[in-house]
């Protein structure tokens, strides 16, 4: 446990030192909300504003996007070299990937919490407690996402490849799930396609919580995310080989 904590602390420090990661977890979501909010401003205005809708969409997107930061922190060339040294010390193998998963989750979720508070203070409706009602879902979703990112690294054994595949898959699922534009408003066929994207399920759960006060959807989504994270960690355990780092 002490070893895991030491690796986790070091990983967290490394993440905080890299400007592009800090940008991705804090400024990038706000910039995306700003851009999409401006684009959608005229489409809403009574039941809710375009900004409210975009803020939810982007925060869900960013929680899933964390997988790309996880792949970077797990197998980036500079990190790989130091990890290789750790592997030759009496440290359990699991500490390596668990440390990365936990550090990336805490790092990203902290950034998203700041974003939720900033957006709430700007007048965007994100639920009770300055958007902190969404905190459990954000944490569990980020945990699931980072676990999948690390698992993909274990499977393809190459960070740039894992990153590129994840980038495409996440963006495709997000577009089909209505993050960038409403697929469901395009008619029955598009709505049927959108129903297959996890982003649709997540957005519905969050909208029902934020706007209709129904917490059941977010609770189910959080529980599902925990299950996915657990399965991904088991997958890491089965596929992570120390020789992949050589």
């Amino acid at each position: 446990m002490e070893t895991l904590y030491a690796i986790f602390r070091r990983d967290l420090l490394n993440l905080g030192r890299k400007g592009s990661f800090v940008f991705s977890a804090t400024v990038f979501p706000l910039a995306l909300v700003g851009l999409l909010g401006l684009l959608n401003e005229g489409l809403f205005g009574m039941a809710m504003t375009g900004w409210d809708v975009c803020a939810v969409n982007i925060m869900v997107y960013m929680a899933v996007y964390s997988s790309m930061i996880a792949t970077n922190s797990f197998m980036e060339r500079a990190v790989k070299a130091t990890n290789l040294r750790v592997l030759f010390t009496p440290v359990p193998l699991a500490a390596l990937y668990l440390g990365k998963i936990l550090a990336t989750t805490i790092f990203c979720a902290s950034g998203y919490f700041v974003d939720l508070v900033v957006l709430s203070l700007l007048g965007i409706h994100l639920g009770p407690g300055l958007g902190m009602g969404l905190a459990p879902l954000v944490v569990t979703l980020t945990l699931a996402s980072t676990s999948i990112g690390v698992l993909l690294c274990c499977l393809v054994k190459d960070e740039p490849t894992a990153n590129r595949i994840l980038s495409l898959v996440v963006n495709i699922a997000a577009a089909l799930g209505g993050v960038f534009f409403s697929m469901e408003s395009l008619g029955g066929t598009a709505a049927a396609v959108a129903g297959f994207s996890p982003f649709t399920w997540l957005r519905e759960a969050v909208f029902r919580f934020v706007w209709d006060g129904q917490a059941m959807g977010t609770a189910v989504a959080a529980a599902g995310s925990l299950l996915v994270a657990g399965a991904a960690v088991l997958g890491c355990r089965a596929t992570f080989k120390s020789e992949d780092y050589a």
């Binding site: 592009s20 991705s24 990038f28 995306l32 851009l35 999409l36 401006l38 684009l39 959608n40 401003e41 005229g42 489409l43 809403f44 205005g45 009574m46 039941a47 809710m48 409210d52 809708v53 939810v56 790309m68 970077n72 980036e76 060339r77 409706h125 960070e159 740039p160 990153n163 590129r164 595949i165 980038s167 495409l168 898959v169 963006n171 495709i172 577009a175 089909l176 209505g178 960038f180 534009f181 409403s182 697929m183 469901e184 408003s185 395009l186 008619g187 029955g188 066929t189 598009a190 709505a191 396609v193 649709t200 957005r203 519905e204 909208f207 029902r208 934020v210 706007w211 209709d212 129904q214």
Partner: protein, 364 residues
């Protein structure tokens, strides 16, 4: 020229060595195209209104309106249904038979539905032909949130119909464009890889010029993006029998512009940024941002004045215009082609200048 062919053959070998990865990109491109075309099937172009309460009377009022689809939800619809785009308005019918809009996406939608309920409302206007969605003007003085009783809100602008007004080619490119550019940026990171592997120092000691090196990288990236995309639309067009909205030559032009833009952008990002990871991350973010801004997903008509002005110079916007004009048979394609060509030339020139500058400073 022999330097160019040597570079190019080396890139072909590298692509073959990582064949599985490129196969994944190709499969994802084909998958997105299939979904985009599936979505592009004729839509209904209607406002979706949920009616609660004495449903029969409201249904009678709205049944004859061709621009409205009436639904009768089992449970009370919430604001989440509006946010998700499933409903545009909710109408509640009181026991005395009077009907009112209790929830609406925007003031214009509420006013339109109220007018329809009174039997004197204006008809819903379709979205502009070059857009996936039109716009809804918000009447002044309408509160941003809270339940709406729409009687006081006059309709001041066209109301967006929910169905796609684009043809199949424009709908395909609207959804496909971002992924084509992303795939181009992901495939074309050869220069960044070479720099990380410290290959460029060695290359600088050969008679090869930066121009040949960049040209080989650019053409390899272009082909990796262009060939699978073109094959997809040609096969799909043959299967559907309509060419997916455009003849083959027009698709060559549209996809050629897109692939060339992706290759030029990839060259620029690869030469500017210090390593492959940052190149991939920055390329992904920039592609997402600029594509959203260009109106590929969200119609330019829905943008404000400043955003519309910015998006006018976006190459993605020019590609969408080019596609739309070719699809509608408009021969005036010089302006969008010019914008795309200028941007591609600018990216290539910048990549070349950065590389030459590095070479002079001994930092290949």
């Amino acid at each position: 020229m022999s330097c160019f062919s040597a570079f190019f053959l080396n890139l072909v070998r590298r692509v073959r060595a990582a064949g599985g990865e490129y196969a994944v990109y190709g499969a994802l491109l084909i998958g997105v195209a299939q979904i985009a075309l599936f979505v592009a099937l004729p839509g209904e172009g209607r406002l979706r209104v949920a009616v609660e309460g004495q449903q029969a009377s409201a249904s009678r009022l709205l049944a004859g309106v061709p621009s409205v689809t009436v639904t009768h939800p089992r449970s009370a619809p919430g604001r989440a249904d509006i946010a998700l785009g499933r409903l545009d308005a909710v109408v509640e019918v009181a026991p005395d038979g009077s009907a009112g809009v209790t929830l609406a996406r925007s003031g214009a939608v509420a006013a339109t539905v109220t007018g329809l309920l009174r039997g004197a409302g204006e008809a819903v206007q379709p979205a502009p032909a070059d857009t996936a969605a039109g716009t809804a003007a918000i009447p002044a003085g309408v509160p941003a949130t809270g339940p709406v009783h729409a009687a006081a809100a006059p309709a001041t602008g066209p109301v967006r119909g929910p169905a796609p007004a684009r043809g199949p080619a424009s709908t395909l490119m609207g959804i496909w464009l971002m992924f084509l550019l992303t795939v181009g940026a992901l495939c074309g990171r050869f220069a960044a890889q070479d720099r990380e592997r410290r290959m460029l120092g060695r290359l600088s000691a050969t008679p090869a010029t930066p121009g040949f090196y960049l040209a080989a990288n650019g053409i390899a990236t272009f082909l990796l993006c262009f060939v699978p995309a073109l094959l997809t639309v040609l096969v799909e067009g043959a299967l559907r029998g309509d060419g997916v909205g455009l003849p083959a030559a027009a698709w060559v032009l549209v996809l050629g512009c897109t692939a060339a833009l992706a290759a030029a952008f990839s060259l620029l990002v690869d030469t500017l940024l210090p390593d492959e990871d940052q190149a991939v991350m920055v390329a992904g973010m920039a592609t997402l941002f600029t594509t959203l801004l260009s109106g590929s997903f969200i119609a330019p008509a829905a943008q404000g004045r400043i955003l519309r002005a910015v998006s006018t110079v976006m190459p993605q916007r020019a590609i969408m215009e080019l596609t739309g004009r070719l699809e509608s048979g408009d021969a005036a394609i010089g302006a969008p082609l010019g914008i795309v060509a200028a941007v591609i030339a600018g990216f290539c020139l910048a990549a070349y200048l950065v590389t030459v500058s590095r070479l002079r400073r001994g930092k290949w």
